[in-house]
Symmetry: D2
Subunit: 110 residues, 4 copies
Amino acid sequence: MENELKTLTDAVNQFTEERDWDQFHNPKDLAIAISLEAAELLEVFLWKKPEEAKVEKIKEELADVINYALLLASKYDFDIYQIVMEKLRRNAEKYPVEKAKGSAKKYNEL
Amino acid sequence: MENELKTLTDAVNQFTEERDWDQFHNPKDLAIAISLEAAELLEVFLWKKPEEAKVEKIKEELADVINYALLLASKYDFDIYQIVMEKLRRNAEKYPVEKAKGSAKKYNEL
Amino acid sequence: MENELKTLTDAVNQFTEERDWDQFHNPKDLAIAISLEAAELLEVFLWKKPEEAKVEKIKEELADVINYALLLASKYDFDIYQIVMEKLRRNAEKYPVEKAKGSAKKYNEL
Amino acid sequence: MENELKTLTDAVNQFTEERDWDQFHNPKDLAIAISLEAAELLEVFLWKKPEEAKVEKIKEELADVINYALLLASKYDFDIYQIVMEKLRRNAEKYPVEKAKGSAKKYNEL
């Protein structure tokens, strides 16, 4: 499909506009919302082994995280494809393969 | 661009494989990682008005959230385009325009 | 020791006042701060088995969570001893021993 | 009251033991639980001005955060009074009054 990210962004923005919710969506509260949805996603795993978590629930909660991530990106006109690729380039510098391979350490501890 | 989400997913997976990090990436820890990156994003706004937060920092932290969201989706072979669209359909049922318009209430309080 | 919670609360409030930080400490940002400190605590466990996490780091991050919890409680003049005991009573109703024993389910699934 | 923190800790531990929940309470999941309760506390403020949040709800959610903080402290035999006082001493070094007064900057930016 062409322009998947634009199509998704348009869809979440239309959903927001139809409900007149843009008045609530300042970037700070959108960042709070992303954090709350991430917590709901994490709750699916609470007290459980990873493989015991319900996949259907993970799917829904992850969709909510991405939904708000799209809304926040849209506020700043970020191009998600670009910012993820750019961040991978930066991470590649912080975590060079020869140092980071097989290690779970943070870059400042490598 | 064609298949943006697949291209991004392939890129984050390749980054992970090159560093042999897949051993750490069970779904529960990935969900924790999403939550921690969401917290770093939120920290950019701490003690600040929304417009005072540094846009460059928001961009980087939001990219990290999406990065881990892509990795988790990939673990379960979720199609992000599909799950976001499906969630919007469900949300449209929970928040019908005529009830939800202009209201910040949760669906169970509408 | 007498009045441990009052002594701690006075200490964190004095720390804040000496630095003139009360201007930043509205309840919403304090709630964000608690959430961010909880994330830093959780980060100590990321990619690790529970027993691999560094105890010294857990101690510090947990102290930060409690520090902000005391500040938020103080904003509303909550008596921490009372509100925790009161919450235990409510939880005892939501999770009666005979139903909840040995189960990790939420009260609405019991 | 004497030994408030010990009394509270005993109460939350007794609550746990009566329900045979100790089997779920490894430190990593307790840290997740603190983070989730902090998110529920933060949700009370979502899309709202600080003064619009419901105080009764804040009280309950804050109690939940402290509840799990007591359980985690108890796992490691931390003395909460000591670790908070010790952290204040460390923070006083990171944020000396003459540098930090009136500033919301992090210690590494002061």
